[in-house]
Amino acid sequence: MRPARAGGVMTPPIAGQPLLEVDHVTKRYRKVVALDDISFNITDGITGILGENGAGKSTIIKILLGLLHPTSGTAKVLGTIAADSVAVRARVGYMPEHDCLPSQVSAAEFLTHMAEVSGLPPDMARTRAADTLRHAGLFEERYRAIGGYSTGMKQRVKLCQALVHDPAFVFLDEPTAGLDPTGREEMLSLIRKTHREFGISVLFSSHLMADVERTCDRIIVLHGGRLAHSGEVAHFTKETETVFIEVDTNRAELVAALERRGVRVTPDGGGLTVQGSDQSIYDQVRDALVEAEAPLRRMAPRRRELTELFEGRE
């Protein structure tokens, strides 16, 4: 975990303790239940929060930022109940999904101001603004008015304003929204850099599973205001105990040959899925292919994808 830094306004995080703690949080808006008894902890790293529109992603982020009070339950950020004090916000950053940048001022001016608003003294704010823009690849453009920036550059300025005060934790709300493939790749790379090089932990909300899969260490999946899944991304996407086989002909003979060898085989679209991924299964598949005289088109270990989380397949 990133070492604690002098805050002056709150107790710094202690190594090993969760940075975010959500304990049985429910949020109701009259008859609508936005969050229903959600509990999870987030420690160091990049965590993705996945869900469709209306799943409760923004609501939980707003509760963690102390902007909304939960109807019941507690949400703690860096050991402090989020809604109890605005001081904790000096140690977190937030990148909203929607436009939030002034068009008239330069990136350097804007970031310096935002660092000051986060509590940094003016001299340090100026230094931090320049450093943050340099790390985001905007140093050369820092004195240009933000209104003249491209979408990708604006998105990077949005990330910079969330990082300029060197938070312990940063919330990113749909950071790749509206970006072209190049811009998206740059943004994902910057998010990885935020944790791996800057040491800032990230909660990254998205509905793009590919982004989460490529960037995050852990995921939290919300569905209809409820916690559908949570855990390591590797757990969800690890190679499962299956091998996918596709043959040109003699498929039925191949199934029979595999079953004679005691291998569990199930049809999967145009191919077959064979249980087990250790070396012996490949030997058995090879022998069955020879026996059935089935020409092999494709054979590969099968990976489970995050999309399956929403399709109810595990």
């Binding site: 830094r5 306004v9 707003k62 902007l67 140690r91 909203p96 939030c100 002034p102 608003v117």
Partner: protein
């Protein structure tokens, strides 16, 4: 000799974090800069500086006229001819100041909401109340300075052009706290109304047009109606002349009637009523403004 540039990588911030007080000061400072167009493009500077220059020019012209009268008509004649002075200045400049507040004030709130920057303020160690208080204080500072600067120019002009400057200072030193108090009253009123109007729209132009229209329309409308009805009711109708409300306070402070309000029936009401009326028109809109931002969330 050639140097080598090393990339020392990302440096964590280990210095002091000053929390909410620094946040408030930063929003206040930015409010002043936004009001004056500092750190923005050239176009953002035109409006505030034109108005500040016009206000200062009025004070300067009044000082020059007094100086010229003393020099070319006769020593001490400026005082005897009863030329417009500090009390009259506030009456003359009040409408310019209201238009200034109406055109520039909304810039502090409307742009933050239109650009979405307000969402970034509200996730920092700052509440909606802190934000609006800092913005209000920032614009109040600018408008107060714009109100005081010409009065200072006028005072210095009158003082230096007097036949015996030290006698003038002895006789008129009380004008200084008076014009400071009257300028503050005018600025507080104009600031609050300008920002309250701006809190209802993200378009600066809408807020400005509404405010200018309100000040301009209320004057002939209330004057005409007050004249028509007359009596106590007429005096109270005259109190709704929005551009005169702080000028009545100016009259109370100087113990004089300025040229703008000498015909106004509201001037016949007791001094405390006129001051309370100004206080209500400043505090109530201020509370409404605060209520609108107090629970604001992104």
């Amino acid at each position: 000799m050639t140097g080598t540039v090393f990339d020392i990588g990302y440096q964590s911030y280990t210095g002091q974090r000053e929390g909410r007080s620094r946040s408030r000061r930063a929003v206040y400072k930015d409010g002043i800069r936004a009001s004056l167009g500092t750190g923005r493009g050239g176009r953002a500077k035109i409006l505030p500086w034109v108005f500040i220059s016009v206000l200062a020019a009025v004070g300067l012209i009044m000082a020059l006229v007094a100086g010229a009268v003393n020099r070319f008509v006769g020593q001490g004649m400026a005082d005897q001819l009863n030329l417009p002075t500090h009390s009259d200045y506030n009456g003359i400049a009040s409408i310019i100041m209201f238009v200034f507040a109406a055109l520039v004030g909304p810039e502090l709130l409307c742009r933050d909401r239109r650009d979405g920057v307000i969402n970034l303020y509200l996730v920092r160690p700052l509440t909606g109340s802190d934000y609006i208080a800092a913005r209000w204080a920032a614009f109040l500072t600018v408008v107060t300075a714009a109100a005081w600067l010409p009065q200072l120019i006028l005072f210095i002009g009158l003082w230096l052009s007097a036949p015996v400057p030290m006698d003038y200072l002895g006789a008129h030193w009380l004008d200084i706290p008076r014009f400071l108090a009257a300028g503050f009253a005018m600025a507080a009123y104009a600031t609050t109304l300008a920002l309250l109007t701006a809190s209802f729209t993200s378009r600066r132009a809408y807020a400005s047009v509404f405010l200018v229209g309100l000040f301009l329309i209320s004057t002939p409308f209330t004057i005409g109606l007050a004249m028509e009805i007359g009596g106590t009711a007429g005096r109270w109708i005259s109190m709704f002349n929005l551009s005169n409300i702080p000028v009545h306070v100016n009259d109370v402070i100087f113990g004089d009637v300025s040229e703008i309000t000498e015909e106004a029936p509201a001037g016949e009401l007791p001094a405390w009523v006129r001051v309370a009326w100004w206080f209500g028109w400043t505090v109530v809109p201020g509370l409404v403004l605060w209520a609108r931002y107090r629970r604001l969330t992104p």
